[in-house]
Symmetry: C2
Subunit: 180 residues, 2 copies
């Protein structure tokens, strides 16, 4: 079975705190092994990203960071994001100018993202079939692939269960909200 789901859509009842601490532990471990310095700021930014199950914007992170860290400025955030991207701890969603935690930082990869346009939840796949098919089709054009950006918008399983025009209980719910 070549297809692999790195970050699935989560059930409404999953333990969200656990989910964050697990991700942080993986990050600590990986950085330690690689001699990468997961400093206080970088760690905190990663934690802020993980604390939502949806793509987070750089300036949202900045606002949150400012509350506890006077003097935080755009470069503070973008440097942390650059580090986290380089270490494979987060991914950037190009179509949203936003960032999301990687569910499997153990090996570097480009993901394929399923983005719900109703609730903003995101699932990450790392599917060999997709990667290979794209590489094959590109090769037919004589093109050598270095990087793939694959972002799929649509409706996630939970939202499909809700009749289309229905006004849900709370339209401003975020994926993380539904986990609490």
């Amino acid at each position: 079975m070549t297809d692999q789901i790195v970050t699935p859509f989560r059930s409404e009842s999953h333990n969200h705190k656990r989910c964050v601490t697990d991700a942080m532990a993986l990050a600590e471990e990986r950085c330690a092994r690689r001699g990468a310095r997961l400093t206080r700021i970088r760690r905190r930014v990663l934690e802020l990203i993980w604390s939502r199950h949806e793509p987070v914007k750089a300036y949202d992170l900045l606002d949150q960071l400012r509350e506890e860290h006077r003097g935080a400025a755009p470069p503070t955030i973008y440097r942390a994001l650059d580090f986290l991207l380089a270490e494979g701890l987060i991914h950037r969603i190009e179509s949203l100018n936003a960032y999301i935690g990687c569910g499997d930082p153990s090996h570097p990869h480009l993901g394929q993202f399923l983005i719900c346009e109703r609730c903003n939840a995101v699932a990450e796949m790392d599917d060999d079939d997709i990667r290979d098919l794209l590489a094959h089709k590109a090769a037919l054009q004589g093109f050598h692939v270095n990087w793939q950006t694959i972002e799929i918008n649509g409706v996630c399983p939970s939202c499909r269960a809700i009749p289309n025009g229905t006004v849900s209980g709370n339209e401003t719910d975020t994926p993380a909200d539904r986990c609490r």
Copy 2:
């Protein structure tokens, strides 16, 4: 054969003027049939986009438009781009914040883009196999697809022919330059 190349990588010797006028003729025809108003500004913006065989930035278009149209401002460009996107006459390349002419506006589609990181040339595919595989993989997660963003970065055939570290004749060449 399900795979389809909408805009191939062009040979260095193709007739570039012809290529632009053909695209404009298709656009005129399509807008006429649909009752869409391809106004002077919109037409000119489309022409500016087609006159390069690479993704063009909004503010580059603005600079060019200003030279012949005093009073052009950001909204002037973005409104034109919105119209052209809505009519399927151009595509937006998310990973570059840039826009490129669509090689087949006759039917609306999401494309798959091959972007050369050396010369900035872009080829557009509209490949059913890719579309279907993604839809299938998404369905396995219970996800319903509405939109796909697929952008593949790498090295185009012409650039692969040039040894890697070689300094080419003119590094600032654009795809359109090479066509003249």
